[in-house]
Structure formats: C-alpha cells, structure tokens
Amino acid sequence: MTNGIIRQNFVIPADDFTAAGEASSSVKKMLIQLGVDPQKVKKTAISMYEAEINAVIHANGGIASVEIDRNKIFIRIEDHGPGIPDVELAMKEGYTTAPDAIREMGFGAGMGLPNMKRYADLLEIKTEVGKGTTVEITVYLS
C-alpha cells in the first residue's frame, strides 16, 4: 500500500433491508484489492456490516465514511436516528429493541454491538437520544 490515505463515503439507504450490506461489501472488495491481510479484511467487513444493518434497522440509514492508511482502517457510521439511551445495556449480548420484522430477517437478536466489539480493535460509540448515533470502528494494520 502507498503512504497515501484512501477516503470513501457511502450512503446507507433507509428502510431497504435488501440493499443493507452493500457498503460493507464494497469496502471488503476494496480491502482485498489493496492486499490487506484476509483476517483483517474479515474483521473489518463483519463489524462494518453489523453497524450498517443497525443504521438500517434503527435509524433510517446513514452515512458510512471509510479511511484507509498504511496503519489502520477507520470506519465511521453516522445516523440521525433515535440514539441509544443506555449504551452499556445495548452492549449486552441478547439485549435488543429491534422489531419482530427484523428478527424474522435473521437479525435483531442483540448481537450487533457485541459483534462489533468482538471484531473491531477499537470501537467508539457516540450517541445522543433524539439526535443520532455515530459508531467508529478501527482495525489496525500494523
């Protein structure tokens, strides 16, 4: 990889469960093309995908911005949804506020945030009730 920084933004569409994951899929392809270690590609893809699904489920979509340099992959997923009243509670496996329709799609079982934490090297969540949530995922390359 060169010394430069690669930046790319993706729109996560609202209420389109079929399209959810397209941004993560694009980022995965990009990382493979850049020759990033497959395990790091997988870690990044899974954590971003869970964050993307969350933005679709809870927040009418959002914006994903991705920055890749020689040391790290940094992904910020920003939405203007309802925010998370209790982040500590939301981090617990099994805790969910997702509606039944989402559970029928194989998600919404309270594993999203725990999975992001499991796979990201660093996970930061900034949230304000009524304003929205920003999730920042970092995966270190070196």
Partner: protein, 117 residues
C-alpha cells in the same frame, strides 16, 4: 468432505456453483440467526439455514463462507441466487429439515466443530 458429497447425502438441488463442487468443506453450521453466524463461525464451513433472504448471502460473503444449503425445500428468489453466483458461493436446497440434514452430514463424517468454543 467435498461439496459434491454434501449434495448427494442431502439429495440437494444445486441452484448455483455447480462448477465448484470439488471444493473441500471441513465443518458445518446450522443457524437461522445471522448475527450468531458472524459471532462464532470459522472458515471453510457449509452454512445450513432455513432463513431465505439476501442477508444470508451477505453474511456468507462477510464470513468467507463459500457454500449455503437451504433446508426444508426452501428456494430463494432468483435475485438471491444471482447475488451468490456473483460472489462465487455455492447454493443448494434440500428437502430435509434442519435436524435431519445436520444429522446426515454428521453421520457421514462432517464432525468438526464449525464454531469457536
């Protein structure tokens, strides 16, 4: 176990990926919950699922899972099969229900754990 053996054991129809049936599979995972698949599953597994939607293929893509078997005779829409085809993922459908399908594969020697302990 070869993907072709799984096809024979489950009397499955191949919906896409016929050309990749020589692929080796080392373990299996049966789940309808995609977040669980992402939390625990290892590489080189076949995913058996009763869930039929595009996110099954997306989850397989993120997890580097190269083979999906839909159980209980479920058939995904063409757009889902096409998505799997583009990603080089084998898709099959079997009439067996989950428990029977998993049991048949386990009895035939696919006994490695597909999940991290």
């Amino acid at each position: 176990m070869k993907a072709s053996e799984i096809k024979n054991i489950l009397k499955a129809d191949v919906l896409t990926g016929e050309e990749n049936l020589d692929m080796d599979v080392f373990a299996a995972c049966g789940s309808d919950l995609m977040s669980d698949v992402m939390a625990y599953v290892k590489d080189n597994v076949v995913l058996l699922t009763g869930l039929v939607n595009p996110q099954v293929v997306r989850t397989a893509e993120m997890m580097d899972i190269k083979m999906i078997v839909f159980i209980r005779g479920k058939r995904p829409e063409d757009s889902i099969v096409q998505m799997a085809k583009e990603k080089g993922i084998i898709v099959m459908t079997t009439k067996d229900p989950m428990f029977i399908a998993c049991g048949k594969l386990y009895s035939a020697g696919l006994t490695e754990r597909g999940v991290w302990d």
